[in-house]
C-alpha cells in the first residue's frame, strides 16, 4: 500500500513543486523584462534621442566654469579709446577710473596680460592680441569694421572672423573685436567680490587687517559693507532663507494646530457617529488629494505672491496629511488611562487633556517635526512658484542665465539649510521625546 502510494504522492508533490518553480522562474525572468520594456518605452516616449541631439553642452560648460570662476571684462570703446574694467561686466563690479587689477597696465597703450603668456594691447588707434603658439592678431576697429589682420595660414576653429566681428576664444580668456568696442574676458578662479565690492574701502584686505580695523571701532562699517554687498546681496539672501524656513514653520505647525481637533472627529474611538467620521475623513482626503501645486495656485489668486501664500499652501495640504495620521494615532490610544480618569470623575476635556494627549504627543511631535524638515524642501519649490524665499531667488538667478556663480551659491545654501533643518528637527525630536532615537 505505502509502496504504491508513495510514488504517486511523490509525483504529485514533484509536479506541484515543478509548477511552482516554473512559475517562480517565469516571474524572475519576466519581471526584469517588463521593467526593461517599460524603460525602453519611456526612453522613446521621453524622446531621449531627440533630447541628446538638442542638448546644449556649451550651457553646461558655462555653468560649471561659472560655478568656480569669474570673468573680468576689459572693454575699449573703439570710438573714444576709453578703457573700462568691470567684473562680470556689471556696473556694481566696475573698477573706479584709473584703477585696475594688477594684470592690466593702464596708460596711453593699455597692456593686458592673460595667463600663459597671452598679451593684449589697446593702443590709441589699434588693438593687438599676441597669442602664444599662434602669432599676433592686430586690428584697427572703427567705422569700416573690425579690420583684423590674422597671421598667415588657415584660420583655426577657435577664431571666428568676419568683416565686422572677430571672436577669439582660448582657455585663458576671450577677445571680441567689433566696430564699436573691443572686449577682453579674463577668467580667474573664485567668487570675486564675495565679501566686499570694489567701492568698499575694505576690498582686498586680509582677514587680519580687517580684524585689527574691527577692533579699532570699524566693525559696524565692515559688517555693513559685507552685509549689503550689492553684488551678492547677503542680507537679501539671508532674508530669503529665513523666509523659506518661516513658510515651512508656519505651514507645518499651523496645520498641526488645525488638524489636531479635527482628528478627534475622524477617529473611530472618539466619534462614534459614522457620518461625522466619514465626512471628516473625506475632507482630509480632499485636502491631501488636491495637490500642493493646486492649492498654491488657488491661494496665490486670493493672497497674491509672497511667503504667506506659500505657508498657507503647506498648511492646507498638511492639514489633510496630519488629520489622517493624527486620527490613526488617536485610534491606537490605550483606553485604560481614559477609563481610569473617568472613574475619578474627570470631565471630557480633562480626559482628553490627561488621558489622551500625553499618550499621543510623542507620536504626533515626531511626525510634525519630520514634516517640518521635509517641508523646508517643499517651501523651496513652492517659493519658486508663488514667489517667496530662496526658491524665488534661485529661479530668478537661473532665468538671467548668467549669474551661475550665484546659482551655485544658492544651491549650496539650500543644501546647507536642509541639512541644518534635518539636524535641528532630529535634535529637537530627541530632546522632546525621550527614548526616541531619532528614527524615521
Amino acid at each position: 500500500m505505502t509502496m504504491t502510494a508513495d510514488p504517486r504522492l511523490g509525483t504529485g508533490l514533484k509536479g506541484q513543486a515543478e509548477a511552482l518553480f516554473r512559475r517562480k522562474r517565469m516571474v524572475s525572468f519576466a519581471l526584469p523584462l517588463i521593467v526593461l520594456a517599460y524603460l525602453t518605452y519611456a526612453f522613446f516616449a521621453f524622446d531621449v534621442p531627440g533630447l541628446v541631439a538638442s542638448a546644449n553642452p556649451e550651457n553646461g560648460k558655462t555653468l560649471i566654469r561659472d560655478a568656480y570662476s569669474y570673468k573680468t571684462h576689459v572693454t575699449r570703446d573703439n570710438r573714444s579709446g576709453a578703457v573700462s574694467i568691470a567684473i562680470e561686466g556689471e556696473r556694481k563690479g566696475a573698477y573706479p577710473d584709473g584703477q585696475a587689477p594688477d594684470w592690466v597696465d593702464l596708460g596711453e597703450t593699455t597692456v593686458i596680460t592673460l595667463p600663459r603668456g597671452g598679451v593684449v594691447t589697446f593702443g590709441p588707434d589699434a588693438v593687438s592680441y599676441d597669442i602664444p603658439g599662434y602669432g599676433l592678431v592686430t586690428a584697427q576697429p572703427g567705422r569700416n569694421g573690425a579690420q583684423a589682420v590674422l597671421p598667415d595660414g588657415p584660420v583655426p576653429d577657435w577664431i571666428n572672423a568676419s568683416k565686422n566681428r572677430v571672436a577669439i576664444t582660448t582657455d585663458e580668456g576671450r577677445v571680441t573685436i567689433t566696430r564699436n568696442k573691443t572686449e577682453v574676458f579674463r577668467y580667474s578662479t573664485g567668487w570675486e567680490l564675495f565679501f566686499f565690492t570694489l567701492d568698499s574701502p575694505y576690498h582686498g584686505q586680509g582677514p587680519l587687517d580687517l580684524l585689527r580695523r574691527a577692533m579699532g571701532g570699524e566693525a559696524g562699517a565692515i559688517w555693513h559693507d559685507f552685509w549689503y554687498n550689492p553684488m551678492w546681496m547677503h542680507a537679501a539672501v539671508a532674508w530669503a532663507l529665513f523666509e523659506t524656513i518661516l513658510m515651512a514653520f508656519l505651514g507645518t505647525f499651523g496645520a498641526a494646530i488645525v488638524a489636531l481637533p479635527l482628528a478627534f472627529l475622524a477617529a473611530r474611538n472618539f466619534t462614534p457617529l459614522m457620518l461625522v467620521r466619514q465626512a471628516f475623513r473625506r475632507l482630509f482626503d480632499f485636502f491631501r488629494g488636491v495637490d500642493a501645486l493646486i492649492w498654491t495656485i488657488v491661494l496665490a489668486r486670493a493672497f497674491g505672491p509672497g511667503p504667506l501664500t506659500g505657508a498657507l499652501a503647506i498648511l492646507v495640504t498638511d492639514t489633510g496629511s496630519f488629520g489622517k495620521m493624527f486620527s490613526e494615532a488617536l485610534e491606537n490610544v490605550d483606553g485604560k488611562q481614559i477609563e481610569g480618569l473617568s472613574s475619578v470623575g474627570a470631565k471630557p476635556v480633562q480626559r482628553y487633556r490627561f488621558g489622551v494627549i500625553p499618550q499621543v504627543t510623542p507620536v504626533l511631535l515626531s511626525q510634525i517635526l519630520y514634516f517640518f524638515e521635509s517641508n523646508t524642501r517643499s517651501a523651496t519649490v513652492i517659493g519658486a512658484i508663488t514667489g517667496g524665499g530662496i526658491g524665488l531667488l534661485l529661479t530668478q538667478a537661473m532665468i538671467t542665465q548668467k549669474d551661475w556663480e550665484e546659482v551655485s551659491y544658492y544651491i549650496c545654501l539650500v543644501v546647507l539649510m536642509v541639512f541644518a533643518m534635518d539636524w535641528f528637527s532630529g535634535w529637537l525630536r530627541r530632546k522632546l521625546i525621550a527614548g526616541d532615537d531619532g528614527g524615521h
Binding site: A45, F46, V48, A292, A302, G304, I411
Partner: protein
C-alpha cells in the same frame, strides 16, 4: 524605623516635592507654549507683511478663483470630455515621469542601501560614505536639479525625471536601509558558504526577504513623485503641470481647460493613493500603513 517616625512630614514632604516638580514642569511647558505662540504670531505677522496681498483682505476672496473656475467649467461642461482627451497624453507623461523616476530611484536606492547596511555592505569601510551620499541626495531639492538640467538639456520630461530619480534614490535608500537592518543574515551566510558573489548574496539572500517592504515604500514614493512631477512641470519640465501653467496663463474665460486639468490631477492622485494604500496593506499583511512623505 526613622521612616515610620517621620511618616507624617515625609508624606507632606513628598507631596511638596511633587507639587514643586509639577509646578516647575507646568512653568516650563507654559513658557515653551508661550514661546511657540509668540513665534507663530510674529511669524504670521511677518509673512503677512511680506505678502503682496494681506491675509485678512484676501480671506474673503479665497473662493473667488475656484468659483470662477467651477462656474466656467459648469458652463462649458460639454467641452470637458474633449479637454480631458486633449490633456490625457500630458497626464500620461506626468505618470511616466513619476514611474520611471521611482523605478530608477528604487533600483539605485536598493543598491545604495545594501552598500550602507552593516553586515551586507560590500565595502564595510565605506558605509559612512554611502550614508552621507544618500543624505546629500535627499537634501537637494528636486527643483534645483530640474532647473539646472532644463538649462543644459532644454525643457521636457527628462530633466524632471532625473531630478526626481536623484531625490528618490536618496529617500528610498534611507528607508530601504532601515528595512535591511531587520533582514536575517542567515541566508546570506548560507550563500556565502557556497561561494556566492556579493551580487548573488544580495539578489538571492536579501531581496526575497525585503522585497515586500521595498515595494510598499516604492509605491508610497510613486504617490509622492506624481505630485512632484506635476509641480516640476509647472516650472518648465513637461507633463500636466506645464499644460496647467499654459492653461492658467490664458486667464479669465479659458478656465474650463484649467478645470479639466485640475480634475484630472485630483482624480489621478486619489486613484493612485487608494490603489497604493490597498496594495501596501496587502504587502505588509494588514499592518497599518504609515504615512511618510
Amino acid at each position: 524605623m526613622t521612616d515610620q517616625t517621620g511618616s507624617g512630614p515625609g508624606i507632606s514632604g513628598i507631596r511638596d516635592d511633587y507639587m514643586a516638580l509639577t509646578r516647575r514642569k507646568r512653568l516650563y511647558s507654559g513658557m515653551l507654549l508661550a514661546v511657540f505662540v509668540a513665534l507663530m504670531m510674529s511669524g504670521f505677522m511677518l509673512a503677512d507683511d511680506r505678502n503682496a496681498g494681506g491675509f485678512w483682505s484676501g480671506l474673503h476672496r479665497i473662493f473667488d478663483f475656484p468659483e470662477a473656475v467651477i462656474g466656467e467649467a459648469a458652463e462649458k461642461a460639454a467641452e470637458l470630455p474633449g479637454h480631458v482627451v486633449k490633456y490625457f497624453p500630458a497626464l500620461v507623461e506626468t505618470l511616466n515621469i513619476a514611474a520611471v523616476s521611482t523605478l530608477i530611484g528604487a533600483l539605485g536606492g536598493a543598491v545604495l542601501s545594501m552598500l550602507s547596511t552593516r553586515g551586507l555592505a560590500r565595502w564595510p569601510a565605506l558605509i559612512p560614505v554611502f550614508r552621507r551620499l544618500m543624505d546629500l541626495m535627499r537634501a537637494v531639492p528636486e527643483i534645483v536639479i530640474a532647473l539646472v538640467l532644463i538649462f543644459v538639456l532644454g525643457g521636457g520630461p527628462v530633466p524632471a525625471m532625473i531630478a526626481i530619480a536623484f531625490h528618490t534614490t536618496g529617500a528610498l535608500g534611507k528607508l530601504f536601509s532601515e528595512v535591511n537592518e531587520n533582514a536575517s543574515l542567515k541566508p546570506v551566510e548560507g550563500l556565502a558558504s557556497v561561494g556566492a558573489s556579493w551580487g548573488q548574496k544580495m539578489m538571492l539572500g536579501v531581496v526575497p526577504q525585503v522585497s515586500p517592504n521595498y515595494l510598499s515604500y516604492a509605491l508610497l514614493r510613486f504617490e509622492i513623485n506624481i505630485r512632484a512631477s506635476a509641480i516640476l512641470g509647472f516650472v518648465g519640465a513637461g507633463g500636466i503641470g506645464y499644460e496647467l501653467k499654459n492653461a492658467m496663463s490664458w486667464g479669465q474665460g479659458k478656465y474650463d481647460e484649467s478645470a479639466a486639468i485640475f480634475l484630472m490631477l485630483f482624480a489621478t492622485i486619489i486613484v493612485v493613493d487608494q490603489c497604493s494604500s490597498y496594495f501596501r496593506d496587502l504587502l505588509t499583511h494588514g499592518r497599518r500603513s504609515e504615512m511618510l512623505a
